[in-house]
Amino acid sequence: DTAVSQTPKYLVTQMGNDKSIKCEQNLGHDTMYWYKQDSKKFLKIMFSYNNKELIINETVPNRFSPKSPDKAHLNLHINSLELGDSAVYFCASSQDSYRTDPDEQFFGPGTRLTVL
């Protein structure tokens, strides 16, 4: 069984559209993340949720809105898509980001978003 899954795997859309990417983890983890990876392979965190509460919100346009209906899901909704939003988006989860020793993160397979 897939530990962290994302849908869709590929997403091609026009500028100005609104789209969502879904993420689910079946590991029982407390914390989930969204990352953006650009064409130069920089992997940058966007959001982190712990038990459905937002704990990290990096400098991301407010067109991006994460939603966590429960501990196992963290969806990413993007409004008014722009060309610069084209990237690979990764969801990840870890056991508990409030432990003193760091947790291993488990990543999903990624969603390649292309904005035309």
Partner: protein, 110 residues
């Protein structure tokens, strides 16, 4: 945010040992050093993590000198399947902000 610096790319051949060094001059007392591996079209995967001295697992070894300002990921006897991007990051647990950077692209040649 603590920053790490690593080579952009490295080349090696099958069967060789590969050492990838990461510099982190501003490492904090409670920072651990964590390495992830990313294959093309996949998400990153945890390889190894350490605080000081040496850590070894079935995949790699991690060497951390006493001053902790750098660390070296060692991959013994690499194969073609070790071709990937390797990320070094500082990781302090709690509500840290994971910073992956650009990683080192390792290409293993036959």
């Amino acid at each position: 945010l603590a920053k790490t610096t690593q080579p952009i790319s490295m080349d090696s051949y099958e069967g060789q040992e590969v050492n990838i060094t990461c510099s982190h001059n501003n490492i904090a007392t409670n920072d651990y050093i964590t390495w992830y591996q990313q294959f093309p079209s996949q998400g990153p995967r945890f390889i190894i993590q350490g605080y000081k001295t040496k850590v070894t697992n079935e995949v790699a070894s991690l060497f951390i000198p006493a001053d902790r300002k750098s660390s070296t990921l060692s991959l013994p006897r690499v194969s073609l399947s070790d071709t990937a991007v390797y990320y070094c990051l500082l990781n302090s647990g709690g509500s840290y902000i994971p910073t992956f950077g650009r990683g080192t692209s390792l290409i293993v040649h036959p």
